[in-house]
Symmetry: C2
Amino acid sequence: MTDLTNLNKEQLIELYTKLEDEYQEIKESNLSLDMSRGKPSPEQLDLSLDLLSISDESLHVSEGIDIRNYGSLDGLDEAKKLFAEMLQVNPKEVIIGGNSSLNMMYDTVSRALLHGVIDSSIPWGKEPKIKFLCPSPGYDRHFAICELLNIEMITIDMLDDGPDMDKIEELVEKDESIKGIWCIPKYSNPDGTTYGDEVVTRLANMKTKATDFKIFWDDAYTVHHLTNEPSQLKNMLKACKEADNPNRVFIFASTSKITFPGSGVSAMAASEDNIAFIKKQLAIQTIGPDKINQVRHVRFLKNLENINHHMKKQAEIIKPKFDMVTSILQSQLGELNIASWSNPKGGYFISLNTLDGCATETVKLASEAGVTLTSAGATFPYGKDPRNRNIRIAPTFPSLTELKTAIEVLCVCIKMTSIKKLLNN
Amino acid sequence: MTDLTNLNKEQLIELYTKLEDEYQEIKESNLSLDMSRGKPSPEQLDLSLDLLSISDESLHVSEGIDIRNYGSLDGLDEAKKLFAEMLQVNPKEVIIGGNSSLNMMYDTVSRALLHGVIDSSIPWGKEPKIKFLCPSPGYDRHFAICELLNIEMITIDMLDDGPDMDKIEELVEKDESIKGIWCIPKYSNPDGTTYGDEVVTRLANMKTKATDFKIFWDDAYTVHHLTNEPSQLKNMLKACKEADNPNRVFIFASTSKITFPGSGVSAMAASEDNIAFIKKQLAIQTIGPDKINQVRHVRFLKNLENINHHMKKQAEIIKPKFDMVTSILQSQLGELNIASWSNPKGGYFISLNTLDGCATETVKLASEAGVTLTSAGATFPYGKDPRNRNIRIAPTFPSLTELKTAIEVLCVCIKMTSIKKLLNN
């Protein structure tokens, strides 16, 4: 194969006809493969089976309290300690949540709307308008929270070492209504980018017109390495303290993709002042998170060293899947000059860019052939990819065999839509 | 002993002096007893120990899905079925929540503020003012939600068969800003009252000026009987449907005081239209509740018949505590004409009324003698009991021995404050 952009019309039509036949055959094989969400595979879940059988008598007591009863609004000390080690903060800077860090994020934003954050003069919801910066491509569920809560989103380009800081600094310095930014700083969803030290420092230090600007630092993949050279992320809470903006950041994490998604433990970290401010509201909101599940997790995961060991076993299962995707993409599309993709060192996704304008049609073709991908555009605010080119590939859940088929189908679809686009140019 | 109100000043002073000595002795015994919250005792928690050891392979699959993975936003069908049976609704009318029904209530109110409810024209938070009716004495944490969220509370008297319906009907018919009412309809906290059929019917049928008025029906003690003649509560969702107000009610419940508080499963029930409306927002808020814990609970609790059997065992443990409290109160205060109290057939509390103006001082005296009670006033909006007389007794957690001491101390304190009041009249 060769660079498609060098082919003439006849050659493109000839190729397209062949691909159409191939596509027809695929359709007739009645595939049903789902690569839309970043879900661990059953083999990964099996790694945590021992979590379920922790049921001895000693489970009932932690730190002198009967964990079967009420109490412990912000989590057990031993759970805080575990997350503190993972996030490199002090246990006093941690609040343990329920089974969903997404829910902690939603809750943090909704509380900001109803009451404001620690340095707000009025609740965000009483402001005429508020806006969030959204480095993109990014996580669709962050953007969905903004959309639900009527927070205007401003798309910020993702560069090689994180979001476009020049643009961000320019915007936050002059616009008081910009109250927040969504960040997935390590192995970002979907690009796999880890923010560079300078980006972290600039985010912590930048001058914001809003006195109550907040960074929503979703450290979802903090221990989710795929290689033996883990990316190093500069400590954001420390950076904020050093910048004399200690209350600027809320850090979020969970065990969802460490143990069992949906039955894990989530946590947030922030300055002690932020924690105290939030706890006052939490005391009204809820009775505190499930302590039995916290103790199970602490007994199973033990400490950061053991978590890293556990995550290596996860990587052994999923790394071959990432490798298979990139190797098929390379062999099928490498020379064609119609697509580029990420080679992530961690996280859950491969980000693929088609020629401008081809993502929606590609995802549609794949879907009609039985391969479900994340909707085109989903990785951008309002579901609108301005260049309509980004496709998020979630390789972890399918088996290697299924994955091979799915990516081959995807390549056929990319070629077809690319040729159509080249023919129309 | 005799009716204190018939004693003269000298007799009262003499009695007070004796009580002071008794009180001093109690103080010197360095008690530390906590009766402030409705917590199950360790013996009650032991009844659910089998819940912890459900860990066989079959736990992983329910309804064809791997419950260890993501999925199931509003709960598993088998969990919905269990709560539907308990609340006498259709499983389609149920949403399963996390470990806290209080959190589901907070969430429902906060969503109403941010987005409105199904029949709102604007979010409640955009209204100039909104108000809730608060039958009182009631649950302090309901009132705390209103206070946090700036919802004005209107105190409604509790009568023998529920809240004062004449007053309620009069208010809701003319005041558009009244958007809701908090109800604990069965074995109410703290009075132990079960709403009469007519009260349920009138709540379902009454004309409300607000088109989006909602009943927050906290059915916390629905299976928490203390006698063999369970109170019957008329089905509120059915009553609302019959009244052509199907969307008027949100019903809440949890297993907190059935299995393990803090590690249980909560649920809400409402019309299918309400459920659909809420699910759209939930889909953005969270990834759905812990499925493993749901399956554990379904396997352990099985069905309503088995729950009733389980609750009988709970009653065997706590009924003697309720009986001891009422019998000490009767023997110590029965003839004195200075206090009255409830004899509940279910729930978690005994409600005691002192002479007007004596509750705060009584609770303070008890606290100084090492017996912590729920703060005086806590059972009323803004923590202000207009007659300063209601004291909530939570007899379930302490042992019988501790309870005996605690109530004897309480009786001394009530006598002292009553005499002081009578002397000042």
